[in-house]
Every structure is written in C-alpha cells, then in structure tokens.
C-alpha cells in the first residue's frame, strides 16, 4: 500500500490520498492520470489492469485501487 501511495503522490502531490475517496467523481484524476497510473502499477506490482476494470468505482480512492490490485493479482 505504501508503494501505491508513493505512486499516487507522484501524480498529484497536492492530494491527501489517505482520506480522498472521490478521485474520479471530483475530477481529480482524468483519463491521462488513470492510464499513467495503470502503467506505473504494472511496472511496480507486475499486475496488468485490463480496460474493463477502468471504471470510477475502482479508482475513486487509494483503498479501492489497492483492492483492485490485490484482486487481479489473486486471479
């Protein structure tokens, strides 16, 4: 989780990712950010996130993103 928070802070240093839970709904993340994040996650965790998982529910908070990584890793 710490590594993920590091990646997220690299994208948007101004956001407190420990509490933010509306990253997509509040338009903090745009599609460019999401794709960059997917590439970073792939590089760091060796988890490929497919296009169908790129939905707001999976990216609204650091916790949701972490759950997604774990789920895909288990699959």
């Amino acid at each position: 989780m710490e590594k993920l928070l590091e990646i997220l802070e690299g994208l948007h240093p101004e956001v407190d990712f420990e509490i933010a839970d509306d990253l997509i709904d509040a338009k903090i993340f745009d599609s460019f950010d999401i794709v960059t994040l997917v590439a970073e996650i792939n590089a760091e965790f060796d988890v490929a996130i497919p296009a169908e998982e790129l939905i707001p529910e999976n990216f609204n908070s650091a916790e949701a993103i972490w759950e997604l990584i774990q789920r895909l890793d288990e699959e």
Binding site: F32, I34, V38, A39, N42, A43, A48, I49, P50, A51
Partner: protein, 521 residues
C-alpha cells in the same frame, strides 16, 4: 422523417396516446413498432443494414453469455481440484472461443459502417472524392449511432460487464430506439435496459417536462441554428478572409450548438415524454476553460464511447505497457506517458475518421489532440503560474479563459467547413495579415442573407440560450427552477417560447429545416 417536420409531430402525438393507452405489457412492443416505422420512413432500402446489426449483435451476445455461464459453472464445480494456473489457462481458452465470434461481429459491423462512409454519398464530401454512383443512396439513417450503441453492448458482454438479452425483439428495440437514431445520444445497455422494458404510467409532470425540453430544442434548431445557417453559406464564399473568417467561425459555433444541442434536446425530450431518461450529451460546453474540459462536456456519449472502447484498451494493452516500461528506462517519468500520447493520437484520428473520410476531419482531430497533449504536459507550469499570480484566480481571469477557449475551439471547428484544407489554413492565416476590421461597419454584414430583423432575433435568441446555460450552472435545470414560479407566469413563458418557434422559426425556401448536421455523421 425529420424531428422538425409536421409529420413527426403527428407521428409522436399518435405514439404518446397509444403508448399510455394500450396495456403496459405491450408498451415496449409499441415502441419497437414506432422505432421501425420511424426508420422505414427514411427508406425501405436501409432495412437490411439495421437488421444485420441487430441479428449479429443478438447472436454473438447470447453465444458469449452462454460461454460465460458455462465457465462460471465449470469453475465452481472444479474449484477445489484446479490450481491457479489451470484456472487461468481454462479462462484463457474460453476467452479465445469468445474472441473469434466477437471480432468477426465487430469487423463485419464496422466494415459496413466503413463502407457506407467511404462509398455512399456523404453531403460533406469534397466533390473530387470518389463516389460509387450506383450506390448513391445516402447514409442509412443513424448508422453511426446505432452501430456504436450496439457494438458497445457487444463489447460489454464480451468483457463480462453486461448479461446478454435473450429476447431478440428487445435487442431490436435497444438498437433501433428512434429518438437516438437521428444523432444520438449513444446510450449504454445498462442505461436503457430497465427503462425500455418496464411499464411507464402517465405522469403529467414527466410528460410536461419532456414536452418543454422538445420545445426548447425546436427553439434552438429552428429559430437560431437554421436562421444563422444562411449567413454561414454566404461567408464561406471565396472572397472572405480575416474578420469575415473570424465571424464565420463564431457564427458556425452558434449554428452547431443550436443544431446539435437542439436536436439532442428534442431526442431526450421525446424519451422523457415516454418516461425514458437517456444520458445527457452536453454540460454547458461553451463555459469550459480549456479544450480538454470542453471535450468532457461536448458530445459526451461519443467521447465516453471512444474513451471506454478505444483509448483505454489501446493505452493499457500489453504492448503499450511494455513500451511504457522501456520508455521510462530511457526518458524517465516523461517516458511513462508515451502510451497516453499514442492512445490519444489514435483515438482522435478515429474520431476524425468517424466524422468522415476527408483530410479536413483528420486535421481537425490532430489539432484537438496536439492542443490537449500540450496542455496536459504544461499543467505543472499552469499550477505554478496560478500560485504565483493571485489575479489569475479571479473571476475576471476565468471569463478570459472561457473566451479564449471559445475562440480557439471556433478556429479548430472551422476545419469542418472547408473540404480543402489549404483553403482553411489560408483563411486562418489571413487573421494575421489581413484582418479586414472594416467588414463590421461597411455594410458587409447586411449582405450575408440576414436582414436587420434576423440579426435582432438571433441576438435575442443567443442571449436567451446564454441565460438558460448560465442559470443551470449549478446542475439544476432551468425547467426545474421554473417550477418554483407561479403557474400563470410559467405557462406564459412556455406559451411565448411556442409563439417564438412558430413566428420566428426558419421555414420555407432558403432554409433547410429537414436535417441536422450530426445526422450526416
């Protein structure tokens, strides 16, 4: 049948009566019959196109859904005796089975769209472009819109994000639902599936809201867009440069906004009258502060489609992720974004080609792409700028940003108007070397085909459009706000709007109220 024809009003009136009077069980069948009747008014010769898409969409979705169900049952049954790798291999083999028919359906349908756009007569084509003369029948009604909607459904089923509908006639209604045939919005299966097939009871407020929205669409289309279209035709004349070109871009912005948003207002209003809520396609786009924001607020359903089914799959594909890793090793953080740029470029090229097989649409797509990518890369500089200069965070600066976006977008959008890209750039650069301010006062404006009365109606109409947008900036529509004022005042306002459409709508020779610009795409 055009939305703005008397024939459509009669058709819609009869439909509303039957829809609410007949038993609720057959309500969706009434809609299906009405949708096919609407489609066939465009010509019997197009029937094969929509039937092909419907049948292939239905069959492949059911086939894939059956596979998904078999897969779930098998994995459940063998949960204990399969390793993680075995499960992965099994899922992969099932996906390959899906993929063959999935790709065949996608290629066949988009192949038809490609053929239609490339070979059938398109009013926006240059006269020099090759056209197969014996097929000069025009584009089948709404082919782009029902095709994107159907293929979106097929992709969602393939991805396991939607379950296939087992009733082929219900799929037929989803594909052909008539309000969206003309120019969208492109709905997802998840957005419409429950609404289309559940009973809808007559509700005075819902019907009134739907009719109000239709009336507002008529106002934008007939009073504003079709009136200003005459001046645009004149301004495209070869002798106009500089200020005339600048005016042309602004006039075209007004026309396309009135035409497209007006058409969508009518489509959404028709749906609302029938108790069916389609997704919004615009969120006050001309109040955007930059081009990227504009594209999040203009033609939203197409852009969402492009993002979900083209941009994301390209940018997060295996080869792109490998490329990201390699380019990061070479160029650091900047290299990580290489897939984003490639994905953006291909998506914008796709959007350009969707508008038509013509160089000016490609140029239009590339201009949008380049500006958005540069803006994204300069974002840190903008942040520093706003942090350093307090005046850049004032309301006045916001207004400046909105005007800047409006002008810039107008200049890009004007590529639509010139089949000859060289002609477009010649006029664009004439803004620098030959501005011709004098056209504002030397009488040129009165030679564009618009009378003083036309200008007064246009200015009043634009002010009303602006005020309606401005007062819905809190995401609450003006119709809802009007509910709060006394009923006589409200009724008077809508009566005046109706009178304005009847008295000031552009009808007759010289005005083409029969088609919408986006219907040609």
């Amino acid at each position: 049948m055009s939305f703005t024809s008397i024939g459509f009003l009669v058709f819609f009136g009869i439909l509303v009566i039957l829809y609410y009077a007949l038993p609720k069980k057959i309500q969706w069948i009434v809609l299906l019959a009405a949708s096919y009747a609407f489609y066939l008014f465009g010509g019997l010769k197009y029937l094969a196109f929509i039937l092909f898409t419907t049948v292939t969409t239905y069959l492949v979705a059911v086939y894939m859904d059956n596979n998904h169900k078999k897969q779930s049952a098998y994995l459940k049954e063998h949960k204990a005796d399969m390793t993680k790798e075995e499960k992965k291999a099994y899922k992969h083999s099932m996906k390959v089975r899906d993929r063959i028919w999935f790709l065949a359906t996608i290629i066949a349908n988009f192949g038809i769209l490609f053929f239609c756009k490339a070979c059938l007569v398109d009013p926006l084509r240059s006269s020099s472009a090759p056209v197969i003369s014996f097929l000069s029948v025009g584009l089948p009604l709404g082919i782009s819109f029902y095709m994107f909607q159907s293929m979106g459904y097929v992709i969602d089923v393939y991805r396991g994000k939607a379950e296939a509908e087992r009733n082929p006639f219900k799929v037929a209604l989803f594909v052909s639902f008539f309000p969206q045939l003309v120019q969208g919005p492109i709905s997802k299966w998840e957005q419409l599936k429950d609404q289309l097939f559940t009973p809808h009871y007559f509700d005075r407020k819902t019907v009134a809201f739907g009719l109000q929205r239709i009336l507002w669409g008529f106002f934008k289309k007939l009073v504003i867009a079709d009136r200003i279209a005459v001046a645009i035709g004149t301004l495209k004349g070869t002798e106009y440069t500089g200020m005339s070109f600048f005016l042309l871009t602004a006039f075209y912005a007004v026309q396309i906004y009135g035409d497209f948003t007006g058409g969508i207002d009518i489509a959404i209003g028709v749906g609302e009258t029938l108790g069916i809520k389609m997704p919004e396609n615009f969120i006050r786009p001309f109040f955007s502060k930059n081009i990227a924001e504009y594209w999040r607020r203009w033609h939203i359903s197409l852009n969402e489609w492009m993002k979900s089914y083209i941009f994301y799959p390209i940018t997060v594909s295996g080869p792109m992720l490998k490329l990201a890793l390699k380019s990061r090793a070479k160029f650091g953080k900047f290299g990580m974004r290489l897939p984003v740029y490639i994905g953006s470029l291909l998506t914008w090229l796709g959007t350009g080609v969707w508008h038509g097989f013509n160089l000016h649409f490609i140029v239009w797509g590339l201009l949008n792409c380049v500006i958005i990518v540069i803006s994204e890369e300069l974002a840190p500089c903008y942040e520093k700028f706003h942090a350093k200069y307090a005046w850049s965070n004032t309301r006045a600066y916001n207004v400046f940003q909105i005007i800047r976006m409006f002008v810039l977008m107008n200049l890009i959008r004007a590529t639509d108007l010139f089949n000859d890209v060289g002609d477009y750039f010649r006029r664009l650069f004439s803004l620098v070397w030959n501005f011709n301010w004098h056209v504002l006062w030397d009488g040129t404006l009165m030679e564009l085909g618009l009378s003083a009365a036309d200008y007064i109606i246009l200015i009043a109409g634009i002010v009303i459009m602006f005020l309606v947008s401005f007062f819905s900036r809190d995401e609450v529509s003006v119709r809802v706000k009007l509910q709060r004022i006394p009923r006589p005042v409200r009724y008077t306002l809508f009566f005046l709007l109706l009178v304005a459409v009847i008295l000031f709508g552009s009808y007759g020779i010289g005005y083409d109220a029969s088609s919408f610009i986006y219907n040609q795409f």
